[in-house]
Symmetry: C2
Subunit: 210 residues, 2 copies
């Protein structure tokens, strides 16, 4: 699977003059194989409809579609999995609702949250923010590269770093040996999302093979 | 079951100086046996926690707890059912996710929506608004008593009227022969929600036995 994980933000796509579908397909064409659909403003009906549209794209490219927070939406479209944060469905409930065969990813924003969850059967951790980020309005203190390195050394689970990740800091993150990075604005806000995704993927491959 | 169906609005309860739990328990003590938990602003985690708290009350009183819109929350707490509106999960998907044994109620705001859904296995319709209401910000043209009467005569399903229902117009609604009325502000905004609920129940019983 790709080391770049796209987490969507429809309003950022819109601000950049693109539809969400256009950005997702651009990322898929570039080689991204993890798409997380994140919708906090849509009605349930629109979220389901949009998820079905995005699923046609992810299935065509053999990519994973993960639904953020909304397990009802994930179940309705039979998505590949869900991603839950610390304000979403508690992990054990989420796992019970989607079953053992689906992907369940969990956000951890600090080492205490990671330590609590390390023994659970999470499929991956989304760890961050590592750096300062403008994507999330609530200010969570960054975990830093040191925190990420500690997690990487002691965790049995794949880790995707998230939060404020762009071309210039991607190398330092990948050097910690994590599975990949989750990006939002680096692709959603790009004038040319396909090129942005291709450059990010190239940078991760450079590190992985070095 | 009671002919009064309480649909919660936590902010109205708060404005009236009460907690949601206080209002729900007051309604249960008065004899209300249908509680619909409606939360549009809460995080999923808080919604689940609140639903678990309310469920302790509904179970203690032998009342039904129905979750508005969020099938994930309903599944997580094993609620008695879900209520979906026209912007929520499409009915067939909602039914498939919760299974045949749970209650699924459907909002219809006009006769066309009702006609489309009449052949489905809905457990009840929430029909309205019948009158003008201030609870919902989006202005849906009222169905009117004539529309409600038409539905009542031709529907195989129980009907609860909803929207702008208070003591003064409850009698006219119940005279149409519907199963009951769903109220929001008539109980949530009441200074004394137990007395408000008792008076509403008394009015429905008066009509039912007359």
């Amino acid at each position: 699977m790709s080391a770049i994980y796209l987490v969507t933000d429809a309003s950022l796509c819109d601000q950049a003059g693109h539809t969400l579908e256009f950005v997702v397909e651009a990322a898929l064409q570039a080689g991204v194989r993890w798409i997380q659909l994140r919708e906090k403003e849509e009605t349930t009906r629109n979220f389901v409809r949009k998820a079905q549209q995005i699923q046609q794209l992810t299935q065509a490219y053999g990519a994973k579609l993960i639904i953020n927070d909304r397990i009802d939406v994930a179940l309705a479209i039979d998505a590949d999995g869900v991603h839950v944060g610390q304000s979403d469905m508690p992990y054990a409930l989420a796992r019970r609702l989607v079953g053992p065969d689906k992907i369940v990813g969990l956000s951890v924003t600090n080492l205490a949250e990671w330590e609590e969850a390390e023994a659970w059967d999470v499929d991956y951790f989304g760890a961050g923010p590592i750096f300062h980020t403008d994507t999330k309005r609530d200010i969570t203190p960054p975990m830093g590269l040191e925190g990420l390195r500690h997690m990487r050394q002691h965790s049995q689970h794949p880790i995707f770093a998230i939060g404020g990740i762009h071309e210039h800091n991607l190398d330092a993150l990948m050097q910690t040996g994590i599975a990949g990075v989750a990006v939002v604005s680096a692709i959603c806000s790009a004038t040319d999302p396909a090129t942005a995704a291709r450059r990010l993927l190239h940078l991760t491959q450079h590190v992985q093979s070095s």
